[in-house]
């Protein structure tokens, strides 16, 4: 069991023979809660190699290592080697006037300009990475469209990376970034016979290795060692302390996008900030939503003044788990126009049974557990304990089971006096 907890906390290979693809179980939304119906990775896979069933991923032999599953994952629970990693993207802005071309691994090195960023597949770059790569440089990011995508098994369309480039560009535009610093696609067709291979080449072919490195990597591969910088985490020390499903996850794609935008604008543009609306008449302050929120965008607050919810649109990935889990159906998520800050507050209520201030639920003057206690006297519970009330009983004993609206007034008479 401890091993399970540790493995949920660390990126693990889905298959030992496909070391390029790593998976973080605790970051997968359906793995965290069956209420999530997310299947973005499986839907994005161009080769139908990835199957997602209730948070358990299976990868078939046909995997192309294109990274499109990782680009689609809203929480960054999948990683494919060969793409820029989030931690390498943080840093000062490079002052460079030259634009940065981005090429796929199929493009031969002699056909491209020097200094290009090479990735296995251009579609495997998510919009957050594109935005952050652009934000890090003074000059634009240019994705080179060589016109091979339509025939490529990882492509299928003429310009499959258009959507993520447009998303990154519009987010940067909303933050006031000038057009020349936004990512764009440039058509530079090359004849198909120039491609190094029919599909994405393996990482070994891409990295030019000396003899020694080659042997070292082959040894590492057979022993299950890391190859190609997929970045497996070592299982955490003291695995018993890990709480993979309770701890919030850093939704990396969203984080990258937010980081890029916040280099230019202090607050997230309204078009990027989801808005969570709460129906104050329905909210019963149960705060199940905050416990289930995978990223910590929704926080449960309990302090001296009261208890309630705070919402921060920056980490919100719009998974709608909060909306789905709310027992009162009090939440509604809109894609735009959210702001950070307190969402709802309930004043503490004095429970006359346990005589303490408890988080208010807006239901009577008993706290939740004391209301349960008196609830047991309803519907036969009263007769079980006190016997059937006499027809013309002399003492005007109250029969709490008869009055559903005030479960606690049985004891109320005693306590009001005290």
């Amino acid at each position: 069991m401890r091993e399970t907890a540790a493995s949920q906390h660390a990126y693990q290979r889905l298959r030992p023979d496909i070391p390029e693809v790593a998976f973080l179980a605790s970051g997968c939304l359906p793995g965290r809660s069956p209420l999530s119906r997310c299947s973005e990775c499986a839907d994005a896979c161009p080769a139908d190699a990835l199957q997602a069933e209730k948070g358990a991923l299976t990868l078939a032999d046909s995997c192309l290592r294109c990274g499109q599953c990782a680009a689609a994952c809203p929480t960054g629970a999948l990683r494919v080697s060969g793409f820029p990693r989030s931690e390498t993207l943080d840093g000062p802005v490079e002052e460079s006037a030259a634009e940065l071309p981005v090429e796929c691994w199929r493009v031969p090195r002699d056909a491209m300009g020097s200094g290009a960023l090479r990735v296995p597949c251009l579609v495997g770059l998510d919009s957050g990475t594109l935005a952050e790569l652009s934000a890090l440089r003074d000059a634009p990011l240019v994705l080179m469209n060589r016109g091979w995508c339509e025939a490529c098994p990882a492509g299928g369309q003429s310009v499959p990376m258009a959507a993520s480039v447009a998303a990154a560009a519009s987010a940067l535009e909303a933050a006031g970034v000038p057009a020349q610093r936004r990512p764009r696609i440039e058509d530079r067709p090359l004849p198909p016979h120039r491609a190094t291979s029919k599909t994405i080449p393996l990482a070994e072919c891409e990295t030019r290795l000396g003899r020694r490195e080659l042997f070292r990597q082959m040894a590492g591969r057979s022993a299950g060692g890391a190859l190609g910088g997929v970045g497996l985490d070592a299982p955490a020390e003291g695995a018993a302390e890990t709480r993979p499903l309770i701890d919030k996850i850093a939704a990396l794609p969203r984080q990258r996008m937010a980081r890029a935008v916040q280099r230019f604008a202090s607050t997230l543009p309204a078009s990027m900030a989801p808005r969570l609306k709460v129906d104050e008449s329905r909210c019963c302050n149960q705060r199940v939503c905050a416990a289930l929120c995978p990223t910590g965008a929704l926080q449960a607050i309990n302090d001296q003044e009261g208890s309630g919810l705070d919402f921060d649109p920056v980490p919100c990935i719009g998974c709608e788990l909060c909306v789905r889990v709310c027992p009162e159906r009090a939440l509604e998520l809109e894609p735009h126009g959210g702001a950070s800050g307190p969402m709802i507050r309930h004043a503490h209520q004095y429970c006359r049974e346990c005589r303490s201030f408890c988080p208010g639920t807006g239901e009577g003057d008993l706290c939740a557990s004391c209301a349960k206690k008196y609830g047991l006297l309803m519907d036969g519970g009263y007769e079980l304990l006190f016997g059937k009330p006499a027809e013309n009983s002399r003492d005007d004993a109250v029969v709490p089971g008869r009055d559903e609206t005030s479960p606690g007034h049985l004891a109320a008479r005693g306590h009001e006096k005290s």
């Binding site: 199940v288 416990a291 889990v325 939740a368 079980l384 004891a411």
Partner: protein, 248 residues
């Protein structure tokens, strides 16, 4: 596999809370977080007030509300383990939805302010992710079944002392604390009950004493209209302190 059930005879129960104490000692629950509790109710006013009490373990419902609502499927009913409702502490995120749903109020989240001062979580701070390190001996932690001292941030509940009950030989109709061969397998509350108001046995076994008691003495289940169908039955109209009735 047996379907474990409990019968509590309210005519015998004296409300002494020995079951509550035994449960707390057996399972190392924090003070106030009583998986097994005796609830006291008063009715009427001085001098004609009446007091009644109701021992309340987890009902181990056949159709448990808590299992239906759990957003992570952490709590589950295991028909292969006596029909007991368990919590998988590796899956539980402490959202407390089950506590809202449970009609009997038998689930506990002990991470917040202590119900009884002083806070033993501070006096015996937990190591290795555990909520606290009790000075006594606890059952071996079984995170899949929610047994032992709980980790931080999860809900806990009565397990019918599964760590004991599961050791019982196959096919026994009742776990009777008077049987020296079985006494070690009896849940702590049943074993300790001074007036022997509690019975524990197999509800699926027609010959079991618990089934005979339920049939002969008209055992009832609490809040039966909810459809939860508890595996805990109550007998009798309930002992208690009767109302004082002055002679007229």
């Amino acid at each position: 596999m047996a379907k474990w059930g409990m019968v509590i005879d309210l005519d015998k129960c004296t409300g002494c809370q020995a079951c509550t104490t035994a449960c707390g000692m057996e399972n190392d629950t924090l003070p106030g977080e009583n998986w097994q509790d005796v609830l006291f109710y008063t009715e009427g006013e001085y001098p004609s007030g009446r007091m009644k009490w109701l021992p309340r373990p987890c009902m181990q419902c056949e159709d448990p509300s808590c299992v239906h609502v759990c957003p992570t499927r952490a709590t589950y009913k295991d028909h292969d383990a006596g029909g007991i409702v368990f919590i998988d502490w590796d899956k539980c995120i402490g959202c407390k939805y089950c506590m809202i749903a449970c009609p009997y109020g038998v689930r506990f989240f002990a991470d917040e302010a202590p119900l009884v001062e002083p806070d033993l979580k501070e006096i015996f701070p937990g190591s290795g992710g555990r909520l606290w390190d009790p000075p006594g001996q606890s059952p071996d932690q079984n995170r899949k079944r929610g047994i032992g001292v709980q980790p931080k941030g999860v809900v806990s509940k009565c397990t019918f002392c599964y760590h004991r009950v599961s050791q019982a030989p196959e096919g026994v109709p009742d776990l009777d604390e008077d049987d020296p061969d079985l006494v070690e397998y009896v849940p702590a509350c049943v074993r300790t009950c001074p007036p022997k108001a509690r019975y524990f046995g197999d509800l699926d076994n027609a010959d079991s004493n618990v089934n005979k008691l339920i049939a002969n003495k008209k055992g009832v289940r609490l809040k039966d209209h909810t459809g939860n169908r508890p595996q805990v039955y109550y007998l009798g109209a309930g002992a208690g302190i009767p109302a004082f009735k002055p002679k007229s």
